[in-house]
């Protein structure tokens, strides 16, 4: 199947030359200066996994506090910080960086038949900024000043008058800092997808995973500025004395909500669209058929994000908007059903018309479809405005978005971890414990989140730190808490399985699943140059085209298309995928971590109010950029 061993001595020599050109420096310095998309993907993976642990610990503390009525496991103030940090962590510091930063970075060039991203140094910069922003925001928790007004941080609760500490300043600056990393990743993916595909891969031959990443990247690029503007206004209101959100001086508290949700609703789709991409990779591999309705699914992935920009005010039915605007947003919200349902039907039909092998990754995708449809059904209910007004700010909402975010975004992440584990490590995981881990997580999450619908309808509001007994909520809350710990057990089994498999697992070989896309044509783990020969592509399921793979093997034997004279990477025309030029890619740079450090100092100085020093640090950032560009590619 795959090109793992060189067929001729001449080819072996060329591969050795590629090895020398692309190999990273050894040791810690190699990791600090790396621009290899696989290494950056792994750095993202380990960092976001640690943050997932932090966000999960916060969730379990919340559930422990709520397990019984009238408990005092944590104080109400700590409880506020816990649920705020839980939301912020899971959304900004786990799901987005896990799906785009880890999965996207590692896999996108491999699926596109490329050797690296379009801007490798910028890719490294994105990781170091992400890491710095995570340290920045978690510092607040350790000094007891964590954000405490929820992840959507409504004013006036978050205004200086009612929240005088540094808690919200950490929020504003940390979120802006983090958005820089996400914007860099988004821009990176868009340009890589349009410019760095293997020649011959026109857009209609691009795998659906890449369409999903493209949709998520467009979403991030156009949604994040609204959040940055919003948090900038709040920072100015709190620290300079402006009046954006101050109704007594002509400002508006609702302005915060509008800007927040103009970002916040597209954000929901940004979270789940990469998960769709993972699903559309796993389903063909384990049904051994091309996905049903490929063009419709590709368009639906993009459409779901596009429509997502027009629905924000359905988060705001309780604030007193005019009926006509509420009806507009309800109608737009109903429209989201169409692209979502197209995808659900395409996935299900692929199961039915293919030969489904329910290995662990596919089990997670089946579970994802179940959770997505369940969460989608409660989502549809919110189109009925009076119903939404009744359940606003109750646990019914919490149940809905956890079905979507845990069920529809995190399940595919778990599935993807199993699916690509053999590619990343070269080892197979153990199948039986894998399947058991799925069932434990599936039962655990449903036990955790389903009763929330009921307590929500019974009137339990979100974000209460405790509740009295005798309201009929106790048993449900206890069940939820048990479900939380069951889920934890399942996740630990999953991680344990992968950990043991890394050391004890049988060798996987390049292509254990007979997977559909290009990453399965190269060795496991992939070499630093990804592909010895730039692959030939004539369909979106390149690994299932034996004629093209045979052509690659012949090219390798003849030493063609190996580009072994430098860090070379073909770039193509954006739509047709015709060869444009052979570009010289940068390799290893100390500047990304330096720039990220300087930027971290800018934000720290802004936090402690030394604006002059922050300005000087800004100049240092510009100098670092000049240093960055002092290194030019060879002519």
């Amino acid at each position: 199947m795959a090109i793992a061993t060189p067929p001729t001595p001449a080819a072996a020599e060329r591969m050795e030359r590629l090895e020398q050109i692309w190999e990273s420096r050894p040791g810690i310095l190699g990791w600090l200066t790396t621009t290899d998309h696989k290494r950056i993907g792994l750095l993202y993976f380990w960092t976001t996994l640690a943050l997932f642990g932090a966000g999960g610990a916060e969730a379990l503390l919340i559930r422990t506090q709520l397990a019984q009525p009238n408990q005092h496991v944590v104080s109400p103030q700590t409880f506020d910080e816990l649920f705020s940090m839980h939301g912020i962590t899971m959304i900004f510091f786990f799901i987005i960086p896990m799906t785009t930063g880890a999965f996207g970075n590692y896999l996108l060039p491999l699926l596109l038949g490329a050797r690296d991203m379009a801007f490798p140094r910028m890719n490294a910069l994105s990781y170091w900024i992400f890491l710095a922003s995570a340290i920045f925001i978690y510092t607040s928790l350790f000094i007891g000043k964590a954000p405490n007004a929820g992840w959507f941080n409504y004013v006036p609760l978050a205004s200086k008058q009612f929240n005088p500490g540094h808690n919200i300043d950490f929020y504003c600056l940390g979120i802006i800092f983090n958005s820089i990393a996400s914007t860099l990743t988004a821009g990176q993916f868009i340009v890589t997808i349009f410019k760095s595909r293997a020649p011959g891969m026109s857009l209609n031959r691009m795998p659906l995973f890449c369409f999903a990443m493209l949709a998520a990247s467009f979403g991030l690029l156009f949604a994040l500025p609204a959040l940055s503007a919003d948090t900038t206004f709040l920072f100015l209101d709190r620290n300079v004395g402006t009046h954006f959100f101050d109704a007594s001086h002509g400002g508006s508290a609702l302005l915060w909500q509008h800007l927040f949700w103009i970002f916040g609703h597209p954000e929901v789709y940004i979270l789940i669209v990469p998960a769709f991409g993972i699903a559309t990779s796993i389903i063909p591999a384990f049904t051994q058929r091309r996905l049903v309705a490929f063009p419709l699914v590709a368009v639906a992935e993009l459409l779901v994000v596009f429509v997502g920009f027009g629905v924000w005010a359905h988060h705001m039915y309780a604030v007193g908007m005019t009926t006509i605007s509420m009806i507009f947003f309800a109608a737009a919200t109903a429209m989201v059903v169409i692209p979502s349902t197209i995808q659900v039907f395409a996935w299900c039909m692929s199961f039915i018309t293919g030969f489904a092998r329910f290995k662990t990754p596919l089990l997670f995708i089946a579970g994802f479809i179940f959770m997505f449809v369940t969460g989608g059904l409660t989502g549809i209910m919110f189109v009925a405005i009076p119903f939404d007004q009744q359940v606003t700010d109750t646990y019914f909402i919490v149940a809905h978005f956890h079905y979507i975010i845990f069920g529809a975004a995190v399940f595919p992440i778990f599935g993807g971890m199993y699916y690509w584990f053999p590619k990343v490590t070269g080892k197979l995981y153990f199948e039986r414990p894998g399947q058991i881990s799925f069932w434990i997580i599936f039962v655990g999450t449903n036990l955790l989140f389903f009763p929330m619908h009921i307590v929500g309808l019974l009137g339990m509001t979100r974000r209460v730190s405790t509740y009295p007994s005798g309201l009929g909520w106790t048993a449900y809350n206890l069940a939820e808490t048990i479900g939380g710990f069951v889920t934890l057990a399942g996740i630990l089994l999953l991680l344990g399985n992968l950990f043991v498999s890394y050391f004890r697992g049988p060798p996987a070989g390049p292509d254990p699943w007979h997977g559909p896309t290009l990453e399965w044509t190269t060795s496991s783990p992939p070499p630093e140059y990804d592909f010895a020969v730039i692959p030939r592509v004539t369909s979106a399921y390149a690994n299932w085209d034996p004629v093209d793979r045979e052509a690659d093997r012949l090219n390798l034997a003849d030493g063609l298309l190996m580009l072994e004279h430098g860090h070379e990477q073909p770039t193509v025309t954006p739509v047709d995928g015709r060869l444009a030029e052979i570009a010289q890619m940068p390799h290893e740079s100390p500047w990304p971590p330096v720039l990220a450090l300087a930027l971290a100092l800018v934000f720290t100085m802004l936090l402690i109010g030394l604006y002059g020093v922050a300005g000087i640090m800004g100049l240092v950032c510009l100098l670092a950029l000049a240093g960055w560009h002092s290194q030019e590619p060879p002519e």
């Binding site: 379009a118 801007f119 910028m122 914007t183 988004a186 821009g187 868009i190 340009v191 349009f194 410019k195 020649p199 690029l221 156009f222 994040l224 500025p225 609204a226 940055s228 503007a229 919003d230 900038t232 206004f233 100015l236 209101d237 300079v240 004395g241 402006t242 009046h243 954006f244 001086h249 002509g250 400002g251 508006s252 302005l255 509008h258 800007l259 103009i262 003849d558 030493g559 063609l560 298309l561 190996m562 580009l563 004279h565 070379e568 073909p570 770039t571 025309t573 954006p574 015709r578 060869l579 444009a580 030029e581 052979i582 570009a583 510009l622 000049a626 560009h629 030019e632 590619p633 002519e635």
Partner: protein, 193 residues
Amino acid sequence: MSGYSVPQSQVGRPTAWWGMTILIASEATLFGTFIGTYYYLRFKTPTWPPGGIPEPKLVVPLVMLAVLVSTTVPMRLAATAARTGRLAATRLLIAVALVVQSGYFAYEVHDFSDQLHRFDITRNAYSSIYYTLLGADHAHVLLGVLFNLWLLGKLARGFTRYRIHAVQAIAWYWLAVNVLTIAVIGTLLSARA
């Protein structure tokens, strides 16, 4: 020898152009949000500008806008000169643009602090968005000035493909900043209507 027949002339835009396009898309969205905020606040306030703040001046901002926008011409010409390999012309055109842009920036900084003395940013919501919008625009002009300074420094040591792409990307940046400035000044002057 590589096995590919690489096209002789440049096919499509260089990745530098694409990178700049992403930056511009992101910044334009940010300004769109600011301008949206301006009108959101305006439409819920009966008198605009509120709180006895005078209407913005008309003639001087428009003249200054015309001065800034006129630098689009030398920047575009510089991009063309760079593509056709005329080093001296590229340097001269960028230097001319830089002088005008720096003059514009210096005047605007002076004017900005002048206005702050008349009504400061903490007066009300109008002053908040007024200075935020204007300040954000000036910051983008300043960044462009620094880009041009850096370009001249780079071009002092001749052309490389990398630098030619940089000239093209920065000319594209200036076009976008000039359009953004038209939108910003237009928004602020709409308070007179």
